[in-house]
């Protein structure tokens, strides 16, 4: 299969135009035919070859990221080995079922730790989604010749500068509720400009999460995740009973959703599971994010403008997107600030 045919087959499985996928190839590799023939490159010719096999160690709580990394590997024509979590990822298996046999033959899936450990030794590229400690440990097992693309612990935030249309709370709730806030793209903290009264915004966000929860209650949380939420809720309930700068809103009799308003602008880490902090937007967001800048992924912005994105880009975020689309990155996004296809090919020059 050439790139055009792979793009066409993938476009049907992921619901994206084949032309869009080919445009991604062109942007990352210089030309949409780079993987199929020699193309002009300065005063020589060059063509790309997929680095293969690629081992993708993916996560159950963010199926979209798993499908996206697999799509990239297939688009360049590499052989893809995927380690799924032990409970599997139905969305990935459904995606594979939609592919033609030529692409299916480029995929091998396992849930077995033993198998994936063996694959780790033979992979030419390893893409891993994991905690900092895990990513470091896996990296230490690799040979210098193996390409390593880590997607380690990242956090995201939202910034609300103004809310004239009174829709920011609902958009924020969408960003929090989708995939139950798992993964790296959903905001932990919502920074609201003081003129929009952050405490009142927190109450509106609680209403929006409550409403969303009636239609889309969380599913599949582990007892450990619920314990973490329960523990932090009780800590903040204790604090709010003794400190007027803290207030908490939460779902009744379950851990479904939690909103904490906290005047202290310093970034606070959420245990995820629709647990979010609302804080006043400080004059220096940089200072508030100080300890987490290296881990900052996405800033969801409302209202969105490129001009405002320019100033926020100084915070260290690798992505600034419109509020409400945190969990739906473009196919063109630089995942964690990195190119997505270019690191997965090597080149042969001619001339």
């Amino acid at each position: 299969m050439d790139t055009n045919k792979r793009a066409t087959a993938l476009s049907k499985a992921i619901g994206t135009q084949a032309e869009t996928l080919l445009e991604l190839v062109a942007k990352e590799l210089g030309h949409r035919d780079s993987l199929d023939r020699f193309i002009s490159y300065g005063d020589i010719y060059t063509r790309a070859h997929p680095i293969s096999p690629i081992l993708h160690i993916v996560s159950g709580n963010t199926p979209a990221a798993a499908i996206q990394t697999l799509t990239r590997g297939l688009l360049i024509g590499a052989f893809n080995q995927i380690k799924l979590p032990s409970e599997g990822i139905q969305e990935v298996e459904d995606f594979v079922e939609k592919l033609p046999s030529e692409l299916k033959s480029l995929i091998e899936i396992t849930r077995s730790r033993q198998t994936s450990t063996e694959w780790l030794r033979s992979a030419r590229a390893v893409i891993v989604f994991g905690s900092d400690e895990t990513v470091n440990e896996i990296e230490s097992k690799l040979f210098p010749s193996q390409i390593f693309i880590p997607h380690n612990h990242k956090v995201s935030i939202a910034v609300i500068d103004s809310d004239e249309n009174k829709e920011a709370a609902k958009l924020t709730a969408l960003d929090i509720a989708k995939y139950d806030q798992q993964g790296c793209l959903s905001p932990h903290d919502i920074y609201v400009h003081p003129k929009e009264q952050p405490r009142s915004f927190a109450a509106k966000l609680a209403d929006a999460l409550s409403e969303l929860n009636t239609k889309y209650p969380p599913t599949g949380r582990t007892i450990e995740e619920n314990i973490k939420i329960d523990d932090l809720r009780r800590s903040y309930s204790f604090r709010s009973s003794n400190d007027t700068s803290v207030q908490i809103w939460k779902s009744d009799s379950n851990t479904d959703w939690t909103v904490v308003y906290e005047e202290d602008p310093q970034f606070a880490a959420s245990p995820l599971g629709r647990f979010v902090f609302v804080k006043p937007l400080p004059n220096s967001l940089n200072d508030a994010l100080n300890i987490n800048k290296e881990h900052l992924s996405t800033i969801a912005l409302y209202p969105f403008s490129i001009k405002r994105a320019e100033t926020l880009s100084l915070c260290g975020a690798t992505r600034i997107c419109p509020l409400g689309s945190s969990q739906d990155p473009s196919i063109f996004w630089h995942h964690d600030g990195l190119q997505t296809l270019a690191p997965l090919v090597h080149w042969t020059d001619a001339g």
């Binding site: 032990s86 994991g130 905690s131 895990t134 990513v135 204790f238």
Partner: protein, 341 residues
């Protein structure tokens, strides 16, 4: 309202003999006393339940409350603090402080629990530092109260030769006590480990919190059995917290944890104050009359299965860290590091 000393006296008497009082009346009295004298506790409890009608209505206090450096969870005057135990904490973590007016109730509870549960009346040798080397450890104070001898020096090294000497010299049954991590370090030290005299016991406690280690109870108890020649039915697990004044014990592999008549437990559904049904799994909350100086109700982070009026401990501090996209990779790593099945 009765004074601290008057309520303390009633509780001491109740610990001595269950017939000397009524748990429900004593704990409501202690709770009202604590609310009267501790604003932090009053504000929290009244935000949840103003007038508890039974002990189950008393809100369990989160351990976060013990981390406040400006205001303490104490039901007596700050100047009357005589002892303080600190929670363990990883680097950068704020440690909780449990302050005491005096240690009468604490020590009474330790002795009485050991006696009431008919735990072995044998010399106790401890794989821990001594109280002077670690004065803020509640565990070490507990072991000292039980008459323990301590084998880890102030620089943190286990005195292997002294361990061998004590065993050789006494040549009679003993209890070797320590944290689960201390036992692991002993077994992994590569040094010659002396076999304990016949009919000896092991008491382990503390889990593997903060160590990154996860070893099943079955595997751990087999390690004890293999290394120390102590039968599994002679291994005791002690369960308590710095924020408490009483302990629970289980013996062998499948035992439930038992406490005494001055403590009660509830297993709560996460996100609510409702108790799970029998055999249900949830978060353990503990009501401890000996905690008169701080809070008689404590919320743990520990996962438990409700077993009638008591519990089976399923895991200590089972809080998952926010890992984002890490589940599969962490599973894989655990295989690489420890070879778990």
């Amino acid at each position: 309202m009765n004074t601290y000393t008057q309520i303390e006296s009633q509780i001491l008497s109740f610990i001595d003999n269950e017939k000397n009082g009524n748990f429900e009346e004593l704990i409501i009295q202690a709770h009202l006393f604590q609310k009267e004298n501790c604003q932090l506790l009053r504000n929290y409890c009244e935000s949840i339940c103003k007038e508890p009608r039974s002990w189950q209505d008393i809100p369990p206090l989160p351990t976060e409350a013990f981390k406040n450096s400006e205001e303490q969870i104490i039901s007596f005057s700050k100047i009357q603090i005589s002892s303080t135990f600190l929670t363990s904490g990883t680097t950068g973590e704020v440690r909780g402080s449990h302050h005491f007016h005096n240690l009468k109730l604490y020590e009474k509870s330790i002795h009485s629990t050991w006696a009431n549960l008919q735990l072995p009346k044998l010399p106790i040798i401890c794989l821990t530092q001594s109280p002077p080397a670690s004065p803020d450890s509640s565990l070490i104070h507990m072991l000292s109260t039980l008459g323990g001898k301590f084998l880890i020096n102030s620089s943190g090294h286990l005195d292997h030769s002294n361990l061998k000497l004590i065993i050789k010299k006494n040549n009679r049954p003993l209890v070797l006590a320590g944290t689960a991590l201390a036992f692991l370090h002993l077994f992994e030290s590569g040094k010659d480990i002396p076999t304990l005299p016949e009919n000896s016991w092991v008491m382990e406690t503390g889990g593997y919190k903060g160590s990154g280690r996860e070893i099943s109870k079955e595997d751990f108890y087999m390690m004890i059995n293999n290394n120390l020649n102590v039968p599994i039915e002679n291994i005791i697990n002690e369960y308590s917290m710095t924020e408490l004044s009483s302990q629970f014990y289980s013996i062998g592999m499948h035992d439930i944890h038992k406490g005494c008549h001055w403590v009660r437990t509830r297993v709560l559904k996460p996100g609510s104050d409702e108790e799970v049904p029998d055999e249900g799994i949830g978060l353990l909350s503990i009501y401890d009359l000996a905690n008169l100086g701080s809070s008689i109700s404590i919320m743990t982070n520990d996962l438990a299965k409700k077993k009638g009026n008591t519990f089976e401990l399923l895991g200590r501090d089972k809080k998952s860290t926010p890992r984002g996209c890490s589940r599969a990779a962490d599973e894989m790593l655990s295989k690489i590091k420890y070879g778990h099945k």
